[in-house]
């Protein structure tokens, strides 16, 4: 069976080196056709059907037509390993999608390892280019399929490579382009998914076209430099490499964080951005210093034909990376350092960040004939993405739909990139569609759980078995008076508390967390799915679970009056809330009451109630207050965010009312014990597994990040000390004015300057970096919500292993894998937050659509043509323009940087009109649609 064959190949790794690799050619690789008699089909998957034509796909087809291939109309295809390898090298995302296709049991895609098959192996010839070699290998494999299956099947090579197709024809292999193949299927809707051959060509090819007919089209953008020149330029320091980030307030402005300069390079205008998308890795050339712009970035944003600002809801602290936060959203640093801010232009794109985008078509009149291709412009919901030109045959269907479009190319002659239609999401303006868009934009998987995942669930109805109780690792705590306090209507109850007075005057306090790891075992499909999802996502009207519903709402949920499995942290505390001892154990509990915050608060406040449960609540509350005070004394920050709560109509799911989320003492009480449990667990796992614990840290914000806060504070004469979290907490406490909302507003502003807390693997950082700034805790982790956060599941496993209850899963041996899990969790966590915020934004829009409102607002930022206000009552933030649209320059309005004031330059009288930061103004809120299908909340000043 083993047949050795060596080949040599030269690789370039700085220098030329000869590499010799063995190839073991095999005779046990099967063709994958179910009807094949010669191949042994019993052991491996054989999805191919010889009755219909067998497609052998070339690399260029896979790379460009992935959206088409994912459509179920294209099937019965052979993926050659030589093709897959090339795809993998060129585009990992496409590779992953193809791999998903090939493992999907519903699709007939078969991977044939042609390089290792004794009959299809081809030896590289001298002087043969990799491309020619691959093409030849593909043709050899195709011919093998033809002879192997004989007359039973038709084998068709699908290639868009002209040379390959011609040579195939000469060799007697039937070959076709994907375009003509799709046409032959006679399904016109497939044609929309097809990437047009013209747009398939890259930059260099377009230059040739331009040479042929120079007068035909106008060149809009400058040519991208070839890769060799870019590498050279980067080496010499002429060009700078970095990730392009488009300003979310102004799509014509972008930043490139460059390590070689150590500063962000600003790029103004689409010309200078030179076809780069948000997230692309680009090479930038600095402009001469006299072209560095100064004033533009101060205006809120308006230019050309594009929209201006979108309604942006608070809080914006969680914006991408910390570096970007301060740049995108702050004006203060910009202003102060503008003259020294380098500007540049993009000379080349090193790595594209193209993916699919959600949006709608720009309204246009219907062309006369139907059924033929028409061009349309696609407008993405993400303002940072330029319009995309697509070709479609079903314009009338798409005009009022939200659709997904993928970008294919952007050549120099066209103002907009060209792309192709992928699929329809639904009607524009429909709430479900728009919610779907929110999910897609934030890369949230809302698909139902697969059958493999559901197979991992315990049989239903589930109840605590006698074995669970008898298990020696599990303590029977059913006799304790355990209860839970959660938001009203909460179904996924993952924490419960108990508090017993001990004879010695101390209290035994227990935090009981749902024992999710008893059901989610490492390495199962259920675990894989949960780790991919990372977190449950809470939208206004629905929840996307991390774990299947039976687990989330029943088996794990610590509901009242049923026995449940828990993982408990039990402390003995003095009446002064000093922890004397900490104990961790798996347990069986029976909650006696599932209270809501309101109920718990009412019980505590009602002095007539003296029942044991209420006493427990009061004791806990007393302890929590002391713990909270101690935490604040240590320097924990009390931050504020403008969280809003919707009342949703149960029938239509439309928002009925919105208001700020009220925080009660009961919330703080529960929060306090959860924090304490998390800290205790963090200590335990970090002591046991110093190099592979999953912890959570909150980096100290840098001075630059706090700059906008300091600037605002200085303008209103407030002195903030930001030297430490303690100093900041104290000065925030002292920031009190007559105005009752003042303190909260300052806290909201402070919250936005903070970095995002992140999960990390303890082996990746040194202990001083573990610090959690906001909580002023040296160690912190997440342990208390395993139903809705995967991080907590990992921490549960670590804790169980540290107690010797369970073995440590192998994942923890592999630090790089743990780091990638932590990265994924951070990504999912951020996306979940963004999605919740976008969902709130969406519902705000729906709410105000029917209810134009006048309300009080606070100015939070001054810009050259207006200011940004914050509406406390609804938690909305948005721009208010003082100058009309189109009026360039802010002529009569003058911005005072120092005072953070905008003053009307009125020559006639001395007491001119002025607005300063934090000032209260009355505004009118109304939903308008300046461009069809893009409703937005417009805020106008009522004078």
């Amino acid at each position: 069976m083993l047949k050795s064959n060596t080949f040599s190949r030269k690789t370039k790794a700085g220098r030329i080196k000869k590499e010799v690799r063995e190839i073991y050619l095999r005779d046990d690789i099967y063709c994958g056709a179910a009807a094949c008699k010669t191949c042994d089909t019993s052991t491996s998957r054989a999805p191919l059907d010889v009755a219909s034509p067998l497609l052998i796909l070339d690399t260029n087809v896979l790379l460009h037509q992935i959206d088409l291939l994912e459509n179920s109309a294209i099937d019965n295809a052979v993926l050659l390993s030589v093709v897959l390898d090339e795809v993998k090298n060129k585009n990992m995302a496409v590779y992953n999608r193809i791999r998903a296709l090939s493992t999907n049991p519903l699709r007939k895609f078969y991977v044939f390892s042609n390089q290792f098959h004794k009959d299809t192996f081809v030896k590289r010839m001298d002087g043969e280019t990799p491309n020619d070699y691959n093409d030849r290998a593909i043709r050899v494999a195709t011919r093998w399929y033809q002879t192997h299956l004989g007359t039973a099947a038709t084998v068709l090579l699908i290639t868009n490579d002209r040379d390959n197709k011609r040579t195939a024809g000469e060799e007697g292999i039937s070959a076709d382009t994907i375009q003509s193949y799709v046409k032959s299927l006679g399904q016109p809707e497939l044609l929309d998914l097809l990437v047009q051959p013209a747009s398939e060509s890259e930059d260099t090819v377009m230059v040739e076209v331009e040479d042929l007919r120079p007068s035909k089209r106008q060149v809009v953008y400058q040519e991208h430099k070839p890769m060799s020149e870019i590498t050279l330029g980067l080496h010499r320091g002429i060009y700078h490499q970095g990730k392009l980030r488009v300003n979310r307030y102004n799509p014509f402005q972008a930043y490139v964080g460059s390590e070689s300069i150590g500063d962000e390079i600003i790029i103004y205008g689409r010309q200078n951005m030179n076809r780069a998308f948000d997230g692309d890795i680009v090479a930038v050339e600095l402009l001469p210093q006299d072209q560095w712009h100064e004033e533009k970035n101060l205006s809120i944003a308006d230019e050309e034909d594009e929209e201006e600002d979108d309604v942006h809801l608070a809080p914006s602290s969680a914006d991408d990376a910390p570096r970007t936060t301060n740049l995108v959203s702050d004006s203060a640093t910009d202003m102060n350092s503008t003259p020294s801010r380098p500007s540049g232009r993009v000379v080349g794109i090193i790595k594209r960040n193209w993916h699919s985008y959600c949006g709608s078509l720009e309204p246009m009149s219907m062309p006369a004939g139907t059924g033929s291709f028409t061009s349309a412009l696609f407008v993405s919901k993400d303002h940072r993405i330029p319009k995309i030109r697509i070709q479609t045959r079903q314009l009338e269907n798409l005009l009022d739909k939200r659709i997904i479009v993928a970008v294919d190319s952007w050549d120099r002659q066209s103002r907009y990139p060209s792309g192709h239609y992928v699929r329809v999401i639904g009607e524009i303006g429909d709430r479900d569609t728009e919610s779907e868009v929110v999910l897609i934009e934030n890369d949230i998987n809302s698909r139902p759980f697969s059958s493999q995942v559901l197979a991992c669930l315990p049989p239903l109805p589930w109840s605590v078995s006698s074995e669970d109780v008898a298990n020696s690792i599990r303590q029977d705590l059913r006799s304790l008076r355990v209860f839970s306090v959660d938001p009203p209507g909460c179904k996924d109850i993952d924490d419960a508390l108990h508090c017993t007075a001990l004879p010695n005057g101390n209290y035994e306090v227990g935090v009981h967390i749902a024992d999710v790891t008893n059901f989610v075992h490492p390495g199962t499909p259920l675990d894989g799915e949960a780790s991919q999802r990372g977190t449950s996502v809470y939208l206004v009207e629905r929840r996307i679970d991390m774990l299947p519903k039976p687990l989330t709402e029943d088996i794990c949920s610590l509901r009242a009056d049923v026995e449940r499995l828990a993982f408990s942290v039990i402390w003995e505390m003095t009446p002064d809330a000093e922890i004397i001892s900490t104990r961790f154990t798996k347990s069986v509990i029976k909650s006696c009451a599932a209270l809501s915050y309101v109920e718990a608060q009412a019980r505590m406040d009602d002095s007539r109630l003296m029942d044991p449960l209420t006493t427990d609540l009061r004791n806990l509350n007393a302890l929590a207050k002391i713990m909270r005070q101690r935490r604040i004394d240590r320097g924990a920050l009390t931050l504020a965010s403008a969280e809003v709560k919707f009342q949703i109509d149960t029938e239509t799911h439309d928002p009925l009312d919105i208001g700020m989320y009220q925080i009660r003492e009961a919330n703080q009480m529960v929060e306090e014990f959860m924090l304490a449990a998390n800290v205790s667990v963090a200590k335990q796992i970090r002591d046991c597994f110093p190099s592979c614990s999953l912890l959570r840290r909150h980096p100290t914000p840098t001075r630059e990040m706090l700059e906008p806060l300091l600037c605002t504070a200085a303008a209103i004469g407030l002195d903030l000390d930001v030297s430490s979290s303690k100093a900041l907490a104290d000065s925030l406490d002292h920031a009190v004015r007559d105005d009752p909302y003042f303190n909260k507003l300052i806290r909201i502003l402070a919250t936005r300057c903070m970095t995002q807390a992140v999960y990390f693997c303890s082996g990746d950082l040194s202990p001083p970096e573990y610090h959690h700034y906001g909580l002023a805790a040296p160690l912190y982790t997440h342990f208390t919500s395993p139903i809705r956060r995967y991080a907590d599941v990992i921490v549960h496993r670590l804790l169980a292993a540290s107690l010797g209850i369970d073995k440590l899963p192998p994942v923890f041996q592999d630090r790089s894998q743990l780091t990638s899990i932590a990265d994924n969790l951070n990504y999912r966590h951020r996306n979940a937050q963004m999605a919740s915020r976008a969902s709130v934004e969406l519902h705000t829009l729906i709410y105000f659509r029917k209810r134009p409102t006048d309300t009080e607002a606070r100015i939070v930022k001054i810009r050259s043509n207006g200011f940004i206000v914050f509406v406390p009552k609804y938690g909305i933030e948005g721009p208010v323009y003082l100058t009309g649209r189109g009026e360039k320059g802010s002529g009569e309005w003058h911005v005072d940087e120092q005072q953070q004031k905008i003053v009307k330059m009125d020559n006639s009288n001395s007491n001119s009109l002025s607005y300063s930061v934090l000032q209260s103004v009355r505004i009118h809120m109304e939903v308008v649609e300046p461009q069809p299908n893009r409703p937005k909340l417009q805020l106008t000043l009522i004078s």
Binding site: E19, R21, E22, I23, Y24, I29, T103, K807
Partner: protein, 244 residues
């Protein structure tokens, strides 16, 4: 990095449980008492055995058994990089020691008191698993020299990549940074004489990987027995089967 494709093939076309092609030749160095070339795929080593002979350095002489010495080196051209490595670097010293100890465990040293046996092994071409190949070559060379042994020693490595146990790692797989278990056994006696692992593995997986390596060792033992020209004097009572 994907070391095992979803189709279950490794980068060089092997399946996870498959070994590379073996090749052996005995008597390649005429001057030596025994010698052998051993190849595992692209890994190629040569071994030469001198002795038993008089102890060169009297002070090292042992009165009740033979002195076994081993020198491991890599030819400068073995990696293709033409790196000139100083003789006696840490790695070579360590491997020399490992080979010496492994071979000492199977040579019946008490039959040759006050004598010395020198084993020289040199890597001619390195492609992962040099340690194992050297031990296998040394076994053949010792057998060729007619040195009395309890049993032959064979060695093979196994690793764990992409959550799959892999037999006989080549250089690319070896440098992936995963665990690498090298095992040496006395196949007839069914005893382990060498076990080395860098990196960590959970115990249950380790047992799997080690089991795989032992299977590899046994396969190599069968191959070595097949090599017709092996002349081996097995004096141990337990292993009475001798090679023709």
């Amino acid at each position: 990095m994907e070391y095992v494709s979803p189709e279950g093939l490794r980068l060089d076309g092997r399946r996870p449980m498959e070994m590379r092609q073996l090749r052996a030749e005995i008597g390649t160095v005429a001057k030596a008492n025994g010698s052998a070339v051993f190849e595992m795929g692209n890994t190629k080593v040569i071994a030469a055995v001198y002795g038993p002979r008089e102890v060169q350095n009297r002070s090292q002489q042992i009165n009740d058994q033979a002195l076994v010495r081993c020198e491991y080196s890599m030819a400068n051209f073995s990696t293709g990089d033409r790196m000139r490595k100083p003789k006696g670097d840490r790695r070579s010293t360590e491997i020399s020691l490992v080979i010496r100890q492994t071979m000492e465990a199977c040579i019946l040293t008490h039959l040759m008191p006050r004598s010395q046996i020198d084993i020289f092994v040199q890597v001619l071409q390195a492609d992962g698993g040099t340690r194992s190949a050297c031990i296998n070559a040394a076994t053949l060379a010792l057998a060729d020299a007619g040195i009395p042994m309890r049993d032959i020693v064979t060695s093979c490595s196994a690793g764990y990549l992409n959550s799959t146990p892999l037999l006989d790692l080549n250089y690319i797989e070896d440098s992936a940074g995963g665990p690498d278990v090298t095992v040496g056994i006395l196949p007839k006696l069914d005893k382990v004489t060498l076990l080395q692992m860098d990196a960590k593995l959970p115990v249950d997986i380790f047992e799997n990987v080690m089991g795989l390596a032992i299977e590899g060792c046994k396969a190599i033992a069968n191959y070595i027995r097949e090599v017709r020209t092996v002349v081996c004097f097995l004096l141990s009572a337990k292993s009475s089967i001798s090679f023709p």
